[in-house]
C-alpha cells in the first residue's frame, strides 16, 4: 500500500490470474455455486494464508484464489484432484515436447 496508484493499471497482472478469475465467475453464472458461498470459502483461505505472512494482494491473492477453487470443485465433485493433476502433468509434457514458438496443444487423453 506504500505507493497508492494514481494511474489505471492492468486489470490482471498475469494471464492466469485473469483465467482463474473468469473460470470462477463463469461457473457461478452457470449456476454451479452461489457467489456468497465462494466468497466465504475464499475469505477463509485468505485468512489462513495470512497467518503465515502478510499477503500482498497480487500473486499471493490469486494463489489463494486458485487453491480455494480447486478445493471447492473437488468437494462438489466437479473436478476430481486426480483428474486435475493428470491434466496438469499432460500440459507440462506438452509444453516440454513442443518446439519453441509452436502452438502447444494437448494430445487427446
Amino acid at each position: 500500500m506504500k505507493d497508492a496508484p494514481t494511474v489505471q493499471e492492468h486489470a490482471f497482472e498475469e494471464p492466469w490470474h485473469a483465467q482463474v478469475f473468469a473460470l470462477t465467475v463463469h461457473l457461478n453464472e452457470a449456476g454451479h455455486f452461489e457467489w456468497s458461498d465462494w466468497a466465504e470459502r475464499f475469505g477463509a483461505t485468505l485468512k489462513r494464508h495470512g497467518l503465515a505472512k502478510e499477503l500482498n494482494g497480487g500473486a499471493d491473492y490469486f494463489a489463494a484464489w486458485l487453491e480455494t477453487l480447486e478445493g471447492f470443485l473437488a468437494e462438489r465433485e466437479l473436478a476430481a484432484p486426480g483428474d486435475v493433476a493428470a491434466l496438469r502433468a499432460a500440459w507440462e509434457a506438452a509444453y516440454r515436447a513442443t518446439p519453441h514458438g509452436a502452438p502447444v496443444t494437448l494430445a487427446d487423453a
Binding site: G57, F62, L73, E92
Partner: protein, 212 residues
Amino acid sequence: MGWGSLPFMPHDHSHDDPHALLPSDPALRVKALETLLTRKGLIDPAALDEIIDTYENKIGPRNGARVVARAWSDPDFHAALMADATAVVSEMGFYGRQGEHMVAVENRPEVHNIVVCTLCSCYPWPLLGIPPGWYKSDAYRARAVREPRKVLADFGVVLPDETAVRVWDSTAEIRYLVIPQRPDGTEGMNEDALMDLISRDSMIGTALAGTP
C-alpha cells in the same frame, strides 16, 4: 486471451531452448481445470474469453465516474441513486453479475466514507472493474478498519479533525460506491468534464475528487 502470449512471464531463457516456455505451476493448474471442465461440458471456453475481455477492456472506473458525475449534476438522479443505487445503476447497464446490491455513500464536510472488504475483496465490479492490488492486500484490509485516518494519510488524504471517517465493509451481497464531494470551481462543467476529476480511488474513498 491466448495462452500463446505471456507478456509478463520472465523471458530469460536462451533462444536455443528446444521447447516452448513452460508456464508457472499455478498457470498449469488453471489450464488443467479449464481443460477438465471443458471436457465435462461444464464451461464454455468462449465465455471465459468474453468475461476476461469484459473485465480487461470494457468495465472500469469510467462507469463509476459516469454515475458520480451525473449525481453531481442532476438532483433527481442524485436522489434516486441515494435511495436505490442498485436500480439506478442497473438501468445504466451497470448491474452486478453476482446479483449483489449496490449502495452509494456520499462524502460530506461532516463525514468521509471509505470502503474495504475485510473478508476477501468484494468490490463493485460493474462500476469500478477489478480492484487494485492494494485493495486486496492484508495491509489495507486490516488497517482500513483499525486506523482509517492513518491509511488515508498514506494515500495523501488528510481530513479536518471535525470530519468523521466512516468505514464500510463490503460483503458478497452488498458493495459500496463512494460519492466524493464535488470540488469547488466546477460550476458549469458538464458531465464529461466532471468525469475526468473522478478517480477510481476517490470512489473507494482513498482519494478526493481532483480539482479542475
